[in-house]
């Protein structure tokens, strides 16, 4: 069995060589699903370390992007031994960059981190219409809706999504978090979201608080 603490630390250190070596060695031992799940959990703890280092300023956006890639690579190595559906999700979130905005880097960083925290993320991509958000919320019944944007026009698009959720009678069934360059406390109140953040790690903690 792999040294789980060493694996978490290697992810926290963004030491790709060490992470991949540990995981390849682990997979070569033909582990069972329970062991594999422990390794996945160790990877998730490593991402928490990354989030903590982001909050202290040691890491910044580029490091979060790299961490997301590292986690994707790690999960790909583990896929053959994880098995099918992972039913141990802590919650679900519908995500998207709102209509008129093509910037999805921030949304993708958040997606990596929220998935690492055990959420099922339904990613609608970028330039997402209000109708597409409503349709997906109706379909998967998430606890959280996350909207992202970089352009200032994103604020109006976020407001339009919430208005459509209200119109569809779905607003009260979800918590809504908005993120990205233009969001602020004032904008959050005007839009009618439950929370805002420009910090992916903080956003994950807010979502975790909602599903506890």
């Amino acid at each position: 069995m792999v040294d789980l603490e060493a694996l978490s630390q290697a992810i926290g250190d963004l030491n790709e060589t060490r992470v991949l070596a540990l995981l390849n060695d682990f997979v070569a031992t033909n582990p069972d699903r329970e062991e594999a799940q422990q390794v996945v959990n160790a990877c998730q703890r490593g991402m928490t370390l990354v989030g903590d280092l982001y909050e202290t300023g040691e890491y910044f956006v580029g490091d979060l992007i790299f961490a997301g890639e590292l986690l994707n690579n790690a999960i790909n190595i583990l896929k053959p031994v994880i098995g099918g559906e992972n039913n141990s999700k802590v919650g679900s979130i519908v995500l998207g960059t709102v209509q008129g905005d093509l910037h999805d880097i921030g949304k993708n960083i958040f997606k990596s981190m929220i998935e690492a925290a055990g959420f099922e993320a339904y990613d609608l991509g970028h330039d997402v219409t209000p109708g597409a958000f409503v349709e997906m919320v109706r379909k998967v019944k998430p606890q959280v809706v996350g909207m992202s944007g970089v352009l200032t026009l994103a604020l109006d698009s976020m407001k339009a999504v919430i208005e459509e959720l209200v119109g569809a009678g779905l607003r009260d069934s979800v918590k809504i978090i908005i993120g990205g360059n233009p969001v602020s406390k004032v904008a959050c109140e005007q839009i009618g979201a439950d929370a805002f953040t420009t910090n992916a790690a903080e956003g994950v903690k807010l979502c975790q608080g909602w599903v506890r």
């Binding site: 008129g100 880097i105 604020l155």
Partner: protein
């Protein structure tokens, strides 16, 4: 200021501001981009693809709001030039009133050594054919000819609108095109045009050595000539000697900024100081995290136009640097006239009293709801007439 032309007065105001001297009024710079088209009679595509219409947009905008300087004279997005060569990076949507630009990724991490060996050759032989498909198709020569003509037309518009603003409206150029001009840090070139945000973020971790070597080569080829040109004379129509835009710093930690970004930027700043010249730095995102680097710059050479920082806090951290910006798009677009003017007064009183402040908008004003015309009219009028 008696005896001075309005152009001279404006240049003096900008120069005093960057030199951290008190000014009798605070100069104001327009940070309006595609919003000014939305404020006109034209759709985005109409103005972007027709220089006569763009000229009318610019002139009407100036006659309406009368800024002292403009970060954009309708020249930021040369859509006709890139379209002629088959580039599709600009996405103009008249219905949504948006001009979007895709993240541009045209090189692989393994190609840094080739870029370092000969940046110009690499751009011509590798990047341009990937970016502009028409360069590799039948009829490439004709496409190139059309593009050259479009480039000349764009340059002609650029010259015409600049001259019209300096001669007719007495508005200075924001930079000395014959001296320092516009410089782009090699890390910005990689971020904006070659590797994209994701690629560059990974390269910092996995290919740092070759990345740094490529940046050194790009500095020698693309930045150093502008730095050396600072030794020349500043023309009488320019407010500043050099202009630069920062965006890529937004992915770096403070430590990474010190290792990757600052060494080249410091070379530029050292030359500015040595030649007693000035530079306007337009910074997207935040700068507060990097104050420790800029604190060592001698007073009187830099303007930093900040987007997301608390400008009052930044003033405390950087008493040696002139600050620009401050007026929130949130207010211009959503609040009433009184709220906007009250906030503008607070900016002028608190940041302008001792000099070292240029009034402007915090965000690049690009979308319809970024600003209401009545708010902008009231604020620009107030700032122009307010005396400290």
């Amino acid at each position: 200021m008696s005896g001075q032309s309005l152009l001279q007065e404006r240049i003096q105001l900008f120069n005093d501001a960057v030199r951290m001297k008190k000014t009798h009024r605070i100069p104001q710079v327009s940070n309006f981009w595609t919003w000014k088209i939305l404020d006109s009679e034209y759709k985005l595509s109409e103005a972007l693809f027709d220089y006569n219409k763009m000229e009318k947009v610019m002139c009407d905008f100036h006659e309406r709001y009368q800024f002292d300087g403009y970060l954009d004279l309708g020249t930021r997005n040369p859509v006709k030039v890139t379209s002629a060569l088959g580039g599709n990076q600009y996405l103009v949507d008249d219905e949504k009133e948006v001009l979007n630009i895709h993240d541009q990724v045209f090189m692989e991490a393994e190609e840094y050594p080739e870029l370092a060996q000969n940046p110009v050759k690499f751009l011509w032989t590798k990047i341009l054919p990937r970016k502009y498909k028409k360069m590799t198709e039948a009829g490439a020569l004709e496409s190139f000819k059309n593009t050259t003509n479009e480039m000349l037309a764009f340059a002609e518009y650029n010259t015409k609108i600049t001259k019209k603003f300096t001669d007719e409206y007495q508005v200075p150029e924001m930079l000395n095109i014959y001296g320092g001009g516009v410089i782009l840090h090699p890390f910005e070139m990689l971020f904006n045009f070659l590797r994209g945000i994701k690629g560059l973020s990974i390269d910092i971790r996995k290919s740092k050595e070759t990345l740094m070597e490529a940046m050194d080569a790009m500095y020698e080829m693309f930045v150093k000539p502008s730095v050396l040109a600072l030794e020349g004379k500043t023309p009488e129509t320019a407010a500043f000697d050099m202009y630069s835009a920062l965006l890529a710093h937004s992915i770096l930690s403070t430590k990474q900024f010190g290792e990757i970004y600052w060494p080249i930027l410091k070379k530029v700043i050292d030359k500015l100081v040595e030649t007693n010249k000035t530079m306007y730095i337009f910074s997207e995102s935040t700068m507060m995290r990097f104050c420790e680097f800029f604190q060592e710059v001698p007073k009187g050479h830099l303007v930093i136009h900040t987007e997301l920082d608390d400008i009052f806090e930044l003033r405390k951290k950087l008493p040696n640097v002139c600050l620009a910006g401050g007026m929130p798009a949130d207010l211009l677009g959503k609040a009433d006239v009184k709220t906007c003017v009250d906030y503008a007064k607070k900016l002028l009183d608190e940041l302008g009293r001792d000099g070292g402040f240029i009034f402007s908008q915090n965000k690049m004003m690009s979308f319809r709801y970024d600003c209401k015309r009545e708010n902008l009219l009231a604020v620009s009028d107030f700032v122009r007439n307010y005396r400290l």
